[in-house]
């Protein structure tokens, strides 16, 4: 028999909360040279426990760190084939992260990703093999090649619609493939460049140390891509483009040049893809026209579709799934593609935006159902509208307002012509039960709801009615210009105003 656990009121056991020590000043470390904090700590007063508590508002960095550390630590214990799969995963994650920048952040539907990678690879490999460029400079060469190609591809991107641009970039990849295959010097090798210099020493190739070094390189590449993604997506450029995604015309109206920002993102990503291309050539020691092929592109597309467009987690998850199936389950044969297609189908049919968006989608769905149900139940004219109630932190306020509403409903029922007549006859003095209740309610009201009687200066028995502003320093305002010559008449006028307010509420 398990003992039932009880929790303190107001505690949320599923949430990790740190206590806040009142005697120690809050230390919020910043990243050096920036104004950024590493983690998003938030603190608040728990209204139930009346304690200050801290919690991590964004736990994603935590998960990322855990996953990356696990991957890095487990790598030396992996078998040779698993190590290759892990390396390929890292390379493709890097490619997909930059592609996500282009499609998600910049909103340019480019399919030339692998083409840019391929061009970076070919340019750097050719410089290395034919002109003897040392391998560290290959990255630079690849980056420059990617930048140039990116600049060329970016020209029509603002002019063309999504699908047209996608087609154009697909055509560009095809042209690259044909062009490379037709190149005279490469014809004997079927269009590929072999024996490319590499950061992996030649005699280590396909040996254990070579594989480990290759993985280390790929891992660093992925980290760099993540950093690029973070800097571009969540800093200035990303913020500018976020506004453009919501409403292009509005962004333009407030002076955001979103086209320029898109071009910048595109160029940065293209340069990055070129660098990845140089790495790709070094990693395999060769580069072949297969990198431009449609099948490769489809597989890449499947990765980011399964993961979800526009988010770094999506790129990583999708790549992990597809690479595991495609490279990890080699003995399944052609069934692998079928499996990938089936996953793609299921993910697209069930989620709005890939696996990474599934959680948000579920929350949105639940919230919509809840608010619909609440809207069905609760009545308008009730004090707290359901959509408002979600946002009110202190739930007591909701009940207080609901109570007030019911009270007013009861009082409204009490107000009859007889009651008003009774007050007119005798504004002060002993009243019937109903009138006492109404008057008591009026007296207990907030200042902002109240009126006052103002005696006109210099005149005897001349009164006007003013309404309080309810704000310190803001004077009352005259309700109307009517002058009452009898104080009882003025009392009754105030009463009528209050009754009117009550009936209107």
């Amino acid at each position: 028999m398990t003992e039932k656990r009880f929790y303190r009121i107001g505690s949320r056991p599923a949430e990790i909360m740190l206590p806040v020590r009142g005697d120690v000043p809050l230390a919020r470390r910043r990243l050096p040279f920036t104004r950024r904090h590493l983690l998003k700590w938030r603190s608040r007063l728990n209204p139930k426990t009346l304690r200050q508590e801290r919690w991590l508002a964004d736990k994603k960095p935590l998960w990322w760190t855990i996953a990356l550390v696990l991957l890095a630590v487990s790598a030396p214990f992996l078998s040779n084939s698993a190590l290759t799969v892990a390396s390929i995963f890292c390379i493709f994650t890097a490619i997909n992260l930059l592609w996500t920048l282009i499609i998600g952040t910049a909103g340019i539907f480019s399919l030339a990703t692998l083409a840019v990678v391929g061009i970076g690879a070919y340019a750097s490999a050719a410089l290395n093999v034919y002109l003897g460029l040392p391998w560290p400079l290959m990255f630079l060469a690849g980056g420059v090649a990617g930048l140039i190609v990116g600049g060329f591809l970016a020209l029509p991107s603002t002019r063309l619609d999504g699908l047209y641009y996608a087609l154009l970039t697909m055509g560009f990849a095809e042209i690259c493939r044909v062009f490379v295959q037709q190149l005279k010097p490469l014809t004997p090798m079927n269009g590929s460049i072999n024996n490319v210099g590499s950061f992996i020493p030649r005699d280590w190739f396909l040996q254990r140390p070579g594989l480990l070094l290759g993985f280390a390189g790929a891992f660093v590449l992925m980290l760099l891509a993540l950093l690029t993604f973070r800097i571009v997506n969540s800093e200035r450029l990303g913020m500018l483009l976020q506004t453009a995604r919501e409403d292009e015309a509005f962004a333009e109206a407030v002076g955001i040049d979103y086209r320029r920002a898109r071009l910048h993102v595109f160029l940065i990503s293209s340069a990055g893809l070129g660098v990845i291309g140089a790495f790709y050539a070094q990693f395999y020691g060769s580069i072949s026209p297969a990198v431009f092929s449609l099948d490769q592109l489809m597989l890449l597309f499947a990765m980011i579709v399964i993961g979800g467009l526009g988010r770094a987690e999506g790129a990583a998850i999708g790549t992990a799934i597809v690479v595991l199936i495609d490279k990890g389950l080699l003995d399944l044969g052609p069934l692998r593609i079928l499996l990938v297609a089936a996953i793609m189908l299921a993910v697209t049919l069930l989620t709005h935006n890939g696996l990474a968006g599934a959680r948000n989608q579920f929350r949105g769905w639940r919230q919509r159902r809840q608010s619909e149900a609440r809207a069905r139940r609760s009545e308008k004219g009730g004090e707290v509208m359901p959509e408002e109630a979600i946002e009110i932190e202190d739930k007591q306020a909701i009940y207080y307002r609901r109570f007030q509403k019911r009270l007013r409903d009861r009082l409204k029922a009490l107000i009859t012509p007889e009651l008003i007549e009774e007050h007119r006859k005798r504004p002060l003095g002993q009243h019937s039960d109903a009138l006492s209740r109404v008057l008591n309610h009026f007296r207990r009201g907030e200042v902002a709801d109240k009126y006052a009687i103002l005696r006109q200066s210099g005149q005897f028995h001349a009164y006007k009615i003013v309404a309080f502003s309810g704000v310190r320093g803001a004077p009352p305002r005259l309700v109307d210009d009517r002058v009452y010559t009898d104080i009882n008449e003025a009392y009754h006028a105030v009463f009528l105003l209050r009754v009117n307010d009550l009936m209107e509420s």
């Binding site: 699908l163 047209y164 154009l168 044909v178 579709v305 052609p334 593609i337 297609a341 709005h352």
Partner: protein
């Protein structure tokens, strides 16, 4: 190479591409879906026709012998099976890529992805079932050449051109005059207005997907007179159809026809120029399309379709 041969070749290519492109364009304009599984419909129709013709060959040989009637029966059978298989694929696309998500967010992108996945899966299933070996469809127009007005053309080229014109003419006429056509056009312009007129979006989309599937199936049979049926044989027609549909301006049927004619002739001409040859055909067409799209970002359709605002 003779100019007239190029002309006939270009026209027959244009006919087949036109069948594909109009299917894609029609589907986009009526239900807002880019059908990437059009190539799968193409391949499935080819295999279905092949299987039917293999099964029926001894039967027809026994019944008709090697006569015109035998060829005609075979033609009817393959075309019918092809169209039917294409229509069935269309129905499958409707069930998977339209019905579950048509009123959900991101429908255009999601349906594109679903049809792409369908395409991948279908190619793999075909590969697994029939193997990578190419199949040969019976020559439904017979073999031989004929001279018309000094232009010599193969039977299958003439047959392809004639059949395409007939099919496309019938389809376009049907869309223009029939009640269903009106329904489709109403739906593509204003779904809510269509619903208020008693037109069910769900039931209108089914015939459209089946029709475009059948068009792909017919294109498969016609193209298979010159090339073989293989699991990946749908990829090239799909890309051609898609590029032509885009070149013509998505959703514009006259644009698609014009695009098909231009691309068909362009391919025939590039293929015929000795120092370029077949290897540069795709290269050349893509280059041409890129240039056109940069000059006219919405394709050719904007020039033709003045009704669109």
């Amino acid at each position: 190479m003779d100019l007239s041969v190029t002309l006939v070749h270009g026209l027959s290519l244009a006919a087949i591409y036109g069948l594909m492109a109009i299917g894609i364009s029609l589907l986009w304009s009526s239900i807002g879906m880019i059908n990437m599984a059009h190539g799968a419909s193409f391949a499935v129709a080819g295999y279905a026709a092949w299987a039917a013709s293999e099964a029926a060959k001894p039967l027809f040989l026994a019944a008709f012998g090697k006569t015109i009637a035998g060829t005609a029966a075979m033609a009817g059978l393959t075309l019918g099976t092809g169209a039917l298989a294409g229509a069935m694929m269309g129905a499958l696309i409707y069930l998977l890529a339209f019905l579950p998500i048509h009123d959900k967010p991101n429908f255009p992108v999601r349906s594109l992805i679903v049809t792409l996945a369908l395409n991948l899966a279908t190619v793999q299933v075909l590969l697994w079932w029939f193997g990578p070996r190419q199949k040969n469809l019976p020559k439904i127009f017979g073999t031989g050449k004929v001279e018309v007005l000094g232009i010599s053309a193969r039977y299958d080229q003439i047959g392809t051109i004639a059949a395409t014109f007939l099919i496309l003419g019938l389809v376009l006429l049907w869309l223009r005059v029939s009640r269903k056509g009106l329904e489709i056009r109403a739906m593509m312009q204003n779904p809510e207005g269509a619903v208020l007129s008693g037109i069910s979006v769900r039931w209108t989309a089914l015939p459209v997907t089946m029709l475009t599937g059948a068009l792909a199936g017919l294109a498969a049979i016609l193209l298979s007179q010159t090339i073989f049926v293989s699991p990946t044989s749908g990829a090239m027609p799909l890309i051609k159809g898609l590029t032509i549909a885009l070149l013509g301006g998505l959703g514009s049927v006259p644009g698609a026809v014009l695009g098909a004619i231009i691309i068909g002739f362009l391919e025939a001409v590039i293929g015929a120029i000795p120092f370029l040859g077949q290897r540069y055909v795709l290269f050349g067409t893509f280059l041409f399309i890129i240039v056109v799209l940069i000059l006219r970002p919405r394709g050719l359709g904007g020039l033709l379709d003045e009704a669109r605002k």
